[in-house]
């Protein structure tokens, strides 16, 4: 079986490391995963030192995952650089392997996904199906309870990023009128 999340293993890292962040498909439930993307975020030290430390972190992580590990090194400048195409993935989906929290919590932010749906064009049977999907039926949990989502306004639900695909795929099967927004709460 593929190990997408790190097993309990104490990660040894040095004081120049701000965080070690898992991002990419491996942090989104039910996404096909071929490898584990890791970003190591450093204080301002030389690139050579960053790369050498990251190689040590990679060796440690290889014991906890059984998929290839792709490791990238950043300081806060290179992380936010517009040329860093992994930037959004790290900031929005990234989870700290040190704190087990979303990485952006470090900046006082919480990433959330807002799904806006419109059921007005659906027939009654599908409206009921949609309601059961979100809220459950006959003691069986719906998606909201199972994955910790909530309705924040009529037609808008809020979930955490790692369940994006589960919600999107299930809701899209019933209604084509579905929009997804990525937001940061403080």
């Amino acid at each position: 079986m593929q190990k997408k999340s790190q097993e309990k293993q104490k990660l040894l890292f040095n004081e120049n490391i701000i965080d070690v962040v898992q991002f990419g498909s491996s942090v989104i439930k039910e996404k096909p995963v071929n490898d584990i993307d890791i970003a190591v975020i450093y204080k301002k030290i030389s690139l050579k030192e960053q790369l050498n430390h990251s190689q040590k972190i990679k060796k440690q992580l290889e014991k906890g995952f059984n998929l290839p590990i792709h490791i990238k090194s950043f300081d806060l400048y290179s992380l936010f650089d517009k040329g860093n195409f992994a930037r959004e993935g790290i900031l929005f989906y990234g989870k700290s392997l040190i704190t087990k929290e979303y990485f952006v919590k470090l900046f006082g932010l919480i990433p959330k996904i807002h799904f806006t749906y419109n059921l007005s064009d659906l027939d009654k049977k599908d409206k009921v199906r949609f309601n059961y999907l979100l809220n459950g039926k006959k003691g069986k949990y719906g998606l909201l309870r199972e994955y910790g989502g909530k309705i924040i306004a009529p037609g808008i639900i809020e979930i955490i990023p790692e369940y994006e695909k589960i919600f999107f795929d299930a809701m899209k099967e019933i209604t084509p009128s579905l929009e997804m927004k990525k937001v940061f709460l403080s």
Binding site: S46, L47, K48, L51, Q55, H70, I71, G83
Partner: protein, 113 residues
């Protein structure tokens, strides 16, 4: 074997020289690619000396280098930059790091660049 050794030595030096020229012209993506190629030529030379064989692919190279951890770690560390060099802008600092790594591996293969 001697002919192969000669070719690898020549290519390691040629790529290193071209990389240095590109670095001086501030063409950092090209410099990264060339220094990495120099590094790989030296790594292959090292393998040829130690095992009598040269690898036929990157996978084969990684497998053979697993027995020589210090060189494996350098190649494994730098390879992603070579792969990314088509679509990500490389920095001067990175090109200099890979240049130093190419020189270190050349030293292990007992050649000077």
């Amino acid at each position: 074997m001697n002919e192969k050794k000669g070719i690898l030595e020549k290519t390691a030096r040629e790529y290193h020289l071209s990389g240095t020229e590109e670095l001086s012209k501030q063409r950092y993506n090209s410099a990264v690619v060339l220094f990495f190629k120099s590094l790989i030529a030296s790594a292959d030379l090292f393998l040829l000396i130690k095992t009598g064989k040269t690898p036929s692919s990157h996978n084969d190279r990684f497998n053979s280098l697993r027995n020589f951890r210090d060189i494996y770690d350098i190649v494994d560390k730098d390879f992603p930059f070579y792969q990314d060099s088509y679509n990500i802008l490389m920095s001067k600092e990175l090109a200099e790091v890979i240049k130093e790594d190419a020189e270190e591996v050349a030293g292990k293969a007992e050649i000077t660049l």
